[in-house]
Symmetry: C2
Amino acid sequence: MSPSNWFTEQHEASGSSIGYRVGARLADEQTPFQHIEVWRTTDWGNLMVIDGCIMLTSRDNFFYHEMMTHPALFTHAAPREVVIIGGGDCGTLREVLRHAEVQAAVQVEIDERVTRLAEEHFPELCESNADPRARLLFDDGIRYMADAAPESLDVVIVDSTDPVGPAEGLFNAKFYASCFRALRPGGILVQQSESPLVLLDLIQSIHAATREVGFAATRTLAFPQPCYPTGWWSCTLARKQASLDDFREDAAAGKPFATRYYNAAIHRAALAQPEFMREALGA
Amino acid sequence: MSPSNWFTEQHEASGSSIGYRVGARLADEQTPFQHIEVWRTTDWGNLMVIDGCIMLTSRDNFFYHEMMTHPALFTHAAPREVVIIGGGDCGTLREVLRHAEVQAAVQVEIDERVTRLAEEHFPELCESNADPRARLLFDDGIRYMADAAPESLDVVIVDSTDPVGPAEGLFNAKFYASCFRALRPGGILVQQSESPLVLLDLIQSIHAATREVGFAATRTLAFPQPCYPTGWWSCTLARKQASLDDFREDAAAGKPFATRYYNAAIHRAALAQPEFMREALGA
């Protein structure tokens, strides 16, 4: 880290770095799973860092949380049961609970300290944690999905860290097979899928592995995310026995809640593939 | 700059930084206008830096150059005369010359050393410099546009540095009035317009100033640009006596040249406005 009043993540895999000007370090702890820091920044609100990797800032997390949630929930005809694997900052859970159709949203985060530190330093992301439809579990998401009842869920959102260490097991066919089994027909799996500019081969492997286990349609949606390497990120959706081409456009256009990035036009736009992604992934 | 083998731009205005792992410094010179460096990076090809600000890398400049060019040229019915103000790396010129309709493309860069260093370190961007339709001038773009014959141009692309220092005069109503006068009916002005997340007020002022001088339609298109602050950038288009809603979609879909980001679907997608931009700028 360098120099004194900047927190910088040097992302070795891409040879690029992103940093923020910081003030005080608000938290610095080693949990049984990882090292978590929270910094106050001068311009981006608070900053959470796990094992040296920037996880989110107060100011720019809306891109990620909205895009991990609303495209899937406005594509599904009636998203009632939702599971979030990871997502300990609770920002994805908050977005999921904005949908009145949702009857139950379970967040399965392995490290309770992520959530407790989010409650303290990102309280706005946790504002729906007391919603009676929400259930916060601190457990192993891989096991949770392996044990989930068949055809019991409508949407599974994998809001994980990078595909190394504890999250590695969330990026393979065995895990996707658990998700496929647990989803009802028409159900959607959402996987955070890194920067298309750096990990296009990972994205290709997610498409291949989800189709291998039976998903009928796959799509990668790219979106800005300033605090992650390259500033450009993606989620990959896989759907059981149905397409991802269309969505409930009228419902998205008339949504009764506020967003900052997502809207119906942006949803339609996110389905467009940049030329190099179209070549690698197909239309 | 920090640490030894990384080049880092600390962007004071946004309190964020972007850096690249570098090897040798290939150029380091003070011109009459600015300080230019070129670095070899480990993962991004070569890196050009002007006055400490990252200008481009070999690997990611395609986003910017394609989006500064193709949306405007596929919107205009018959783009024959094009002027580029700035753009000394010649990447925009190369993209403009991919359009067979273009009969003349003039690049007006104030600092010849930018172009000479690009020829040496970014030769792929300069591969069309010898095209008989191209003309490279090293002169003051503000004066060039003030002196341009009325209704003599179809597209003016302002491929400038940030709106401080030498480029400041490219972001005001007086300059836009010169552009308006020089454009034919249906003509399009393209202005690089910074990060929507940081300089939304600048973007609003570009819309206001271009409409004030007579442009009928304005649109901001956002796109990824990893090497610029926040990794997310924009260009703002203003059109004389015509709309920017539609474009030659069949021509874009059937374009006879390769791109890496732009295609017809991405053009349509870029017309969608993120919710916070729609609120600030209108649809």
